[in-house]
C-alpha cells in the first residue's frame, strides 16, 4: 500500500509542465526509484552484491583450502568452517562472484537471443513467426534442470560442467524473452509512429531496433532483472544436485549439497544456513528490484 502511495505522489509531482521541461526521463526514473522503497532496497543490495562479486575475493582467504574439521562461527571464522575446515565466510563471498556472474551473464545472453528471435517473429509475422514461436514453445516445455542433466550426461566428460549448466539455463530462458518481445513488438508495430518510420523510408532493421525496441525496453529490463534471480536459483539447484559448479569451487548450491552430504543439518547448521541465506538474499534483492522497476517503468501497473 505504502509503495503505491509513494509512486502516486511521484506521478503527480512529475506531471507538472514546468518540471517536465527541466527533468529528463532518466532523472524522473531516479526520483521514482528513491520513492519506491522495495526497489531502492533491492537496488542497494544488488549493487553491494556486485561489488562483493568483483572485489570480495581480495579480502578473503583462499576458499578452496582448509585444515581440520567443522567449527562454529568465531571471531577468526565469522561463518565458521565446513567439514574440511574451509572458511565458510570466504566460500560464501567467493560464491557471490560465481552466482552473480552466472545470473547476469545468463540473463543477458538469453535476453539478447530472445529479443532478436522475438523481434523478428513479431515484426515479420506469418510463417516466420509461426516457425520461431513453435520452436520456442518446444524449448519452453523442457525444464532447465532436465536439460542440464541431459547436457551434462551427454557432454559432461568433454566440456566444463559449469558451462553446460549455464547453457541449459540460458536456452530455457530464451523463449520467455522471445514471447515478451514478440508481444510488445506486435502491439507497438500497429502504432502510427512505426508506420511513419516506414513511410519516411526506414529499413525493417532500423524500424525494429531504432523505433520499436526503445519502447519495449522497459518490459525487457524488468523481465531481465527477474531472470537474473531465476538463473541464480537454477545454478544453485544444479550445484546442489552435483551438476553445476564442481567442488572444490565454492558455489552456494554446491555448499548446501556438501553440508547435506556431511549430515550437518543438526551438528553444524551454519554450514547450510549461510549459503542458504546468501541465495535467499540475492534472489530476493533481484526480485525486489525487478518488481520495483516494473512499477516504475510500466505506467499501466500500480499507478
Amino acid at each position: 500500500m505504502e509503495r503505491k502511495k509513494d509512486s502516486q505522489t511521484t506521478t503527480a509531482s512529475s506531471a507538472t509542465p514546468e518540471q517536465k521541461l527541466h527533468h529528463s526521463r532518466a532523472r524522473d526514473m531516479w526520483a521514482a526509484m528513491f520513492d519506491n522503497k522495495a526497489a531502492f532496497i533491492g537496488l542497494i543490495i544488488v549493487v553491494f552484491l556486485i561489488l562483493i562479486a568483483i572485489f570480495g575475493r581480495f579480502f578473503v582467504t583462499d576458499p578452496t583450502i582448509g585444515h581440520g574439521h567443522e567449527s562454529p562461527p568465531s571471531s577468526e571464522h565469522w561463518f565458521g568452517t565446513d567439514n574440511l575446515g574451509r572458511d565458510i565466510f570466504s566460500r560464501v563471498i567467493a560464491g557471490t562472484g560465481i552466482s552473480i556472474t552466472v545470473g547476469i551473464v545468463g540473463a543477458l545472453v538469453s535476453l539478447i537471443f530472445g529479443t532478436i528471435l522475438g523481434a523478428i517473429a513479431g515484426y515479420m509475422g506469418g510463417k516466420i513467426d509461426t516457425i520461431i514461436m513453435r520452436i520456442m514453445d518446444m524449448v519452453l516445455a523442457i525444464p532447465s534442470i532436465l536439460l542440464a542433466i541431459s547436457l551434462i550426461a551427454a557432454l559432461g566428460r568433454v566440456y566444463d560442467k559449469t558451462v553446460l549448466a549455464v547453457i541449459a539455463i540460458i536456452v530455457v530462458a530464451i523463449p520467455e524473452f522471445a514471447r515478451i518481445v514478440r508481444g510488445c513488438v506486435l502491439s507497438e508495430k500497429e502504432n502510427d509512429y512505426v508506420q511513419a518510420a516506414k513511410v519516411i523510408g526506414n529499413r525493417d532493421f532500423s524500424i525494429i531496433f531504432k523505433h520499436i525496441m526503445p519502447n519495449v525496453m522497459s518490459s525487457l529490463i524488468v523481465r531481465g532483472t527477474l531472470e537474473v534471480s531465476t538463473a541464480i536459483l537454477n545454478v544453485a539447484a544444479l550445484g546442489f544436485l552435483g551438476l553445476g559448479v564442481q567442488p572444490p569451487h565454492p558455489e552456494w548450491g554446491t555448499m548446501l549439497s556438501d553440508a547435506h552430504k556431511a549430515n550437518a543439518i543438526f551438528s553444524a547448521p551454519y554450514m547450510m544456513i549461510f549459503p542458504g541465506l546468501a541465495i535467499t538474499i540475492t534472489v530476493l534483492a533481484f526480485n525486489m528490484l525487478g518488481d520495483g522497476l516494473r512499477d516504475i517503468l510500466d505506467p499501466k501497473s500500480g499507478r
Binding site: K20, Q195, A196, V199, I200
Partner: protein, 325 residues
C-alpha cells in the same frame, strides 16, 4: 485546360482476411476497398470523404505502401508502384509522404521533434550531414514552430503543434504528393482552421499535390479542388468542388450534404435522413452497396452494381439513376 496526372489509381482492391480455415485459406474477407479508380492531377487537392470504415484511409495507406493492395494498380508519375520490390519502393518515399490522423500516436515518444524531422532527411541522404540541422530549423520555421522547440519531446506539445511536427516530417523529403489522412479530425475546430491554412500555404509554396482524406465536409470544402465520395469500399461520386456541392448526383452524396449543419436557419433545407446502419463490409449488399439505405432505390438496384461513369465533364457518378440509357 489539360492537367498532368500525377497519381492514377486503377481498379484498386484491398481485401482483409477475417477468418481463415485450417490451411490458411481465407473463408471470409472484409472488402475494405473494392475496385476503386480515380486520378489525381498535379498541383490539386483531391478530397476523399466517406464515413468511418468506408476504406478511405486504406487507400491512403496503400499509396504509401503500408498496406499491399490485393489487386489493381497505383501509378505514380508513370510508374506502377504495386509491382515494385520493397527496396525499389523505398525510393518513392522521397515523392510520396503521409500525414497521420493522430498526432499523438504518430510521433515516436522517445525522440525529440528535431530528431523526428531530421530522420527522413538523413535516411534519404537529401542534404550533406552538416546541413541537416539547418534544414530542420528551416522546416520548423515553415510549419510555424520555433527553432528552440527542436530538442523537446512530442509530449511537451499540444495536438496542433504535434500535427505541425508531423507536417514538417512529411515535408522534410520534398515530396510531390502528400497523403493527408484526416490530418485535422483529432484537433479541435479552432486549431483545425490553422492547420488547414498551413497546409494550403505549404501547397502553394512547395507546389504540392494533396490527397486529402477527411470525414468532415466543411474541411473538404475549404481545401479541395475535386472531391470523391466513398461508401463501403466503393467510389460513389467524383466531381469538381463546385459541382459536388451544388449539383450532387448520387443519393448518398445528397444525403451527406444535407447533413452539414448550417448556422443560418433560414437557409436550412430539408434534411435527408438515412435509415439504418452501414452494412458490414464483410457481407455487403448485392448490387449497389447503398441500395439498403437509399431513398431513391428502385427495382434492379439490389441486383446490378452500377459502374462509375462520367455523367458530365469531370463529374463521375456510380448510380443507376444516371445510366439508364
Amino acid at each position: 485546360m489539360k492537367q498532368k496526372i500525377l497519381l492514377e489509381i486503377k481498379n484498386l482492391k484491398k481485401y482483409f482476411p477475417v477468418e481463415t480455415n485450417l490451411f490458411g485459406v481465407p473463408t471470409s474477407v472484409l472488402k475494405a476497398v473494392d475496385d476503386v479508380s480515380f486520378n489525381i492531377f498535379k498541383g490539386e487537392t483531391f478530397g476523399l470523404v466517406g464515413e468511418s470504415g468506408c476504406g478511405k484511409t486504406t487507400i491512403g495507406k496503400m499509396i504509401v505502401d503500408i498496406y499491399k493492395p490485393t489487386s489493381g494498380s497505383i501509378i505514380f508519375d508513370g510508374t506502377d508502384l504495386t509491382n515494385l520490390s520493397k527496396k525499389e519502393h523505398r525510393k518513392y518515399c522521397k515523392d510520396i509522404q503521409l500525414i497521420f490522423q493522430d498526432p499523438y500516436a504518430s510521433l515516436n515518444p522517445r525522440m525529440t521533434i528535431g530528431d523526428i524531422i531530421a530522420e527522413p532527411i538523413i535516411i534519404n541522404k537529401l542534404v550533406p550531414s552538416n546541413e541537416v540541422e539547418n534544414r530542420v530549423a528551416y522546416l520548423l520555421n515553415c510549419v510555424g514552430l520555433a527553432k528552440h522547440h527542436r530538442d523537446r519531446y512530442a509530449y511537451e506539445f499540444s495536438g496542433g503543434q504535434r500535427q505541425r511536427v508531423g507536417i514538417a516530417r512529411a515535408l522534410a523529403v520534398n515530396p510531390k504528393l502528400i497523403v493527408c489522412d484526416e490530418p485535422v479530425s483529432a484537433l479541435d475546430v479552432s486549431i483545425q482552421a490553422q492547420v488547414i491554412n498551413l497546409l494550403s500555404d505549404l501547397q502553394a509554396e512547395f507546389n504540392l499535390t494533396y490527397l486529402f482524406i477527411a470525414h468532415g465536409l466543411h474541411v473538404i470544402k475549404h481545401i479541395s479542388d475535386r472531391v470523391g465520395v466513398m461508401y463501403l469500399g466503393k467510389m460513389m461520386e467524383i466531381a469538381g468542388k463546385q459541382a459536388f456541392y451544388e449539383r450532387p448526383l448520387n443519393p448518398y452524396t445528397q444525403a451527406l450534404l444535407s447533413a452539414i449543419p448550417v448556422t443560418d436557419l433560414s437557409l436550412k433545407k430539408d434534411r435527408i435522413r438515412l435509415k439504418g446502419d452501414v452494412p458490414s463490409p464483410i457481407d455487403p449488399p448485392e448490387g449497389c452497396h447503398f441500395c439498403t439505405r437509399c431513398f431513391k432505390v428502385f427495382k434492379g438496384c439490389e441486383i446490378e452494381q452500377p459502374p462509375l461513369k462520367e455523367y458530365e465533364k469531370g463529374h463521375f457518378v456510380a448510380c443507376r439513376l444516371y445510366n439508364k440509357s
